[in-house]
Amino acid sequence: MSTRRQVLASLLFAGGAAAFGRRRGEAAGEERSSSSTLQDSAIVSARPAVVTPNGASLPFVMKDGVKEFRLIAEPVEREFAPGMKVKCWGYNGRTPGPTIEAVEGDRVRFLVANRLPESTSIHWHGIILPNGMDGVSGLNQREIRPGETYAYEFTLRQHGTHMYHPHADEMLQMAVGMMGMFVIHPRQREDPPVDREFALMLHAFAVHPGTYRPDPSIMTEFNMFTFNSRVFPGTEPLVVRAGQRVRIRIGNLSMDEHPIHIHGHSFRVTGTDGGPVPKSAQWPETTVLVPVGSTRDMEFVADNPGDWALHCHKSHHAMNAMGHGIPNVLGVDQSAVEKRIAELLPGYTAMGESGMAEHSAHAQHMPGPKNTLPMMRGRGPFGPLDMGGMFTVVKIRDGITGYDDPGWYRHPPGTVAWRVQG
């Protein structure tokens, strides 16, 4: 198991030889740019140091010492979770776009091809670069028209967690999913070194029930809250070996701030998209509030094995869509009326007198609108989990050698809450 630094170092010496790294387990398929083979230069398959759950990293080609990446801005179809497929816009076949990984000091070049029906551009959020590479169309460059390809080139003079997103018709293009993480690894060795890191892009979509496309006119009433454009139970778990130092890089290009909370551990916020936070300034948290248009790096040692929830603590954000403004039936005895209504409306069942959990049970076998997920879903080893949206699980296991899903945690005896009476 080589360290991340060694892996990247090996890439720098790749020279003219093709080098294909061993791929780590990922939910998504292999990531390749669309024009794969060039005669004169090596195709370097990035052996990603950052794990992008339900995503991938962007490969590059070395050309005369410049890391050249290819990004294709295009319409994509994204499955938010099984049962819901959404027509989005993204990069290289996915939303969020593939995570860009480079090293502080690299000269990087991005070839951006526009296959969207309208003009676009790419802004490199938080990156210090020449003004003409900043990507605000009209201000720093002419827009990239449909069918055109533009090149951005600059030298990276910082490290940290950054993002990339359009800056032409920005509101709409972001609303339908165009964004991605841009991780710049430090040139110097880190202390303490991080053993495993993840990238999570937070976002919110408004996909009205029964529809297939996000509504870009929605400003506050979003209903699908995503980690890397997936919702629970479609979110891939973050698999970690016990004892590893873990960094989770979180970006937020949605319209709301999100308080991201982890169970079983506390952490420190060690960086923002502005740069690293000095150790003396780092304070302990179990929840990091990630503002809009910001990134936060949080680090902790995974010393508490188990299946730990990682989720946005705004409770509606950890649910899938529901109606807001439906009548409140909590505590309402509907037994007499239910039969009467069911005679008029075959298939009607009264729900909600004792809470919303019975809805989840009913939703298993009642039809819902097309392409719509029930508000909560999912099963754990002990029964219905009933969450949605921005919810995932960090699986910390002793002594694993691979990072495929290890299944549910097997609890040591005496460490599970037990029923006492009644």
Binding site: A321, I326, L330, V332, A350, A363, P367
Partner: protein, 479 residues
């Protein structure tokens, strides 16, 4: 000589009277058989004239038998045709016309006059005079008058046939109107039930402290409003029942009949509807007016001729004067056309004829237009009903299904569902009124052409009952 004249005159008198005495009996039922045949040929139903005979007991039994079951359209029609008292009154016109016909064949009675004049002085004898006189022109114009009366009789028959068809059309309109108002009352009641369920749920929400007084009052107000509509519709049903009861001539216990609750569905195919405007020519009321015009034409001819012979009386006069001398001889009375030369009478007859002819034209225009109008209404109602049942109702049902999906996944509440259900019921109400409009238009068309429309196979277009019912709501995979 006198004896011979006397004998000859008597012979003529005897001969004439024997001719005219041949048709003195009035048989009112003579024309009715023609009416019955015409009615049967046009609308395939029986009519009977209630004249207090044994026949009428059979009619009574038929009516009672028909009343034991639910009344289909044909049964209601048959009862009305047998039992409607106004129609029975109309039949008497035949009696009147027939009597007129007989009357037209009768000569005026001879008039016997007798005088006895007692002289004042003597030795005179009582002056006796007697004569027998006979109005003469009548004999001349007898055939013409009979022709006119006969033509009039024919016209009356046609009027009676028309009255039968008119009653049949009104019965059909009343029947379909009743079924439709029952259908609509059902739909409105279902809609009120939906609103009541919604209000009950609101009451439970209010009880639990989850609804305010405003929300509750709103729901209850709507349920109450729809309840008022139910009452109104019930009233419409009762009125429609009374109309049909009147047309069928039923009273008392007989008035507790029932009809199948649903309108018949519109038949898939129309009967052949080409060339119906031609039918206007043979319609009984038009034929009656045409007949009347012919009658008046004849009458005009008669008037023109008879103005020159307004009154002629021939007679035989016998007198014994005061000296006891018998004198006798013919006498003649004439009306002298000095002041009244009959022009006014002719002018009157001419105007009556022209009036009748113009009425005929007017009726012809109206009949053709009525046929076109009824066809157009029928076609439109069919299209509306087909669109309502083929598109609108299924779409409203889909709205309900999709709303239920939204409810299952907590996107909408129960009241949205119930509102969608009420919309579906409204769509069904539109369908029902279109079906009624079709059948009423069709009956109007039949009235306008003067016979029942038949499908090519000769099968009547009355399909099975209960086709026009709300398609059952598709149920979801249980719960």
């Amino acid at each position: 000589m006198r004896k011979e004249i006397r004998k000859r005159l008597c012979a003529i008198a005897m001969a004439s009277s024997s001719i005219v005495l041949g048709c003195t009996t009035v048989e009112p039922k003579r024309g009715f058989a023609d009416v019955q045949n015409a009615v049967a040929g046009r609308i395939d139903h029986e009519v009977e004239w209630d004249q207090g005979t044994q026949q009428d007991a059979h009619v009574r039994e038929s009516v009672e038998r028909l009343l034991t079951d639910e009344l289909g359209l044909e049964a209601a029609l048959q009862i009305a045709l047998l039992n409607n008292p106004t129609l029975q009154a109309t039949y008497e016109e035949l009696g009147v016309a027939q009597a007129d016909l007989v009357q037209a064949g009768l000569l005026r009675n001879p008039v016997f006059s007798g005088f006895a004049r007692v002289p004042r002085g003597s030795p005179s004898q009582t002056n006796l005079e007697f004569d027998v006189a006979q109005e003469f022109v009548g004999l001349l114009f007898l055939p013409a008058r009979r022709r006119v009366a006969s033509a009039n009789f024919e016209a009356r028959k046609l009027h009676v046939i028309d009255a039968v068809l008119d009653l049949a059309a009104r019965v059909k309109a009343a029947y379909f109107g009743l079924q439709a108002s029952e259908n609509v009352a059902d739909v409105v009641r279902a809609s009120a039930d939906v609103a009541t369920a919604s209000a009950e749920l609101a009451a439970k929400m209010h009880e639990a402290g989850n609804f305010g007084d405003l929300e509750l009052a709103r729901e209850r107000a709507l349920a109450t409003e729809l309840g008022l509509d139910v009452e109104r519709r019930r009233g419409e049903v009762e009125i429609a029942r009374e109309i049909l009861t009147r047309l069928m001539g039923l009273t008392g216990d007989e008035a507790s009949w029932s009809v199948p609750p649903r309108l018949p569905a519109i038949p898939r195919e129309e009967p052949p509807l080409d060339d119906l405007e031609r039918a206007a020519l043979t319609r009984p009321d038009i034929a009656a007016v045409r007949q009347e015009a012919d009658t008046l034409r004849d009458a005009l001819g008669l008037t023109r001729l008879s103005r020159w012979f307004p009154f002629v009386e021939l007679g035989i006069d016998n007198e014994r004067d005061t000296r006891g001398q018998w004198v006798h001889g013919p006498n003649v009375s004439l009306q002298l056309p000095v002041f009244d030369r009959g022009e006014a009478g002719v002018a009157r007859a001419e105007s009556e004829l022209r009036r009748s002819e113009k009425r005929l034209v007017a009726l012809g225009v109206a009949a053709r237009s009525e046929i076109r109008e009824a066809q157009s209404r029928m076609a439109r109602a069919r299209r509306l009903a087909e669109t309502a049942s083929g598109s609108l109702i299924p779409l409203r049902q889909e709205v309900v299904s999709r709303a239920l999906e939204r409810y299952n996944y907590m996107f909408v509440g129960a009241s949205d569902l119930l509102a969608a259900k009420r919309d579906e019921l409204e769509a069904y109400r539109i369908y029902v009124t279109s079906v009624r409009d079709y059948w009423v238009a069709r009956s109007d068309l039949e009235r306008a052409v003067g016979w029942t429309l038949k499908h090519p196979q000769g099968v009547s277009a009355e399909p099975a009952q209960s086709s026009a019912r709300p398609p059952s709501h598709p149920s979801h995979g249980g719960n």
